[in-house]
Symmetry: C2
Subunit: 214 residues, 2 copies
């Protein structure tokens, strides 16, 4: 099945799906959406995904999937090997809770539309940075003991899971927003481990076709 | 298996899990957490769920599950009937995308800790209300065409799914924050249908043991 991923190089939600596709060994076409230029609003992308957020994944029979968690669960169900979730239901719930902390309680508070809304409300650069750092720190403080309790190299156990697909893009974002990982040694260790893994390497923002040179 | 749900009557994330437990026909003990009084911080609840958010679901062998989506997926995997997800993977992805719009892109922007943070940043009542309404409206505008395309009584098809578990508490919150449902007839129709369903009725905030009288 040919897959097309609508992505923006630096946005963390499509970065999660790139990792998942790479872990599953699934090739895909990369369709860039320039969020900074507002390409998500109106026009072709908006017709594809009326929510005007990335990512969207299009199948060759024209079905469009949205929401990164839903896409990753679909990948898991349709391409079960290698698995992104452990076998035991309680373990799966732990992995999904880790993913949920990033997907629900960190990222949505910090993405582009929120930064733009805060600016419109008169919050200055320093205020927006403090806002962003607070939610990353709150979320990482929740993730750290969970990962410390369950990690054996990766966030849960010794193989990459859905939790790593979510965590690594969030660590990338934390670096961008100058969050110190020193209080989170378990997270930092997982990030170092994933940085050596080809599926995570190939998904890195800097290697995407639409990446801006530094 | 005896289950204990740590819940706050008016918080929407535990409300989702109450609906799910009721749809599955699973009895549970109700353990109230007074979020307004700060009972989630420090103390016994914080030891149970270091993220200090509701809900948490405790099993009788002492395992604690957190994050409402992870809990609902666990319920689905351990108690598959009646199903909260359709059988076809692409359909499941649509239901999970609906759930994700609420769980990721509406609710986390509007919950108690965000309201408190905005207040601390000097945003007044009117500013906070406008903030809250914006994200509900953005999310409902994304949900409306999805639900209109897939609903046959409930959000997806003719039986309640994970999407309804997420949608109905968000509609309750929208009412609380004075969001007009007139632009969202498909959402309003699903809400009316669910209001007649005993699983949704029993989960309503006003019927919980810790509900405050109006």
């Amino acid at each position: 099945m040919a897959l097309t991923l609508y992505s923006h190089w630096r946005a963390t939600a499509p970065y999660r799906v790139r990792i998942g596709l790479n872990l599953k060994g699934l090739p895909y076409d990369y369709a860039p959406v320039n969020l900074q230029a507002g390409e998500q609003h109106g026009g072709a992308y908006s017709r594809l995904n009326p929510q005007e957020l990335t990512p969207a994944l299009e199948t060759d029979d024209g079905r469009v999937l949205t929401q990164s968690l839903a896409i990753l669960e679909w990948l898991e169900e349709t391409h079960p090997n290698p698995p992104l979730l452990p076998a035991d239901p309680l373990d799966r719930a732990v992995v999904r809770a880790m993913a949920g902390i990033v997907a629900c309680d960190i990222h949505p508070l910090n993405n582009l539309r929120i930064q733009q809304q805060l600016t419109a409300m008169g919050i200055d650069d320093a205020g927006r940075l403090a806002w962003t750092q607070r939610w990353i720190n709150d979320g990482f403080a929740a993730l750290e003991p969970l990962i410390a309790a369950h990690s054996d190299g990766f966030a849960f156990g010794s193989q990459p899971t859905l939790a790593d697909c979510l965590l690594i893009p969030q660590v990338y974002s934390a670096d961008r927003f100058k969050v110190d990982l020193l209080p989170y040694p378990a997270i930092a260790a997982v990030a170092a481990r994933c940085a050596e893994h080809p599926a995570f390497q190939a998904a890195h923002p800097d290697l995407q076709p639409d990446a801006k040179p530094k």
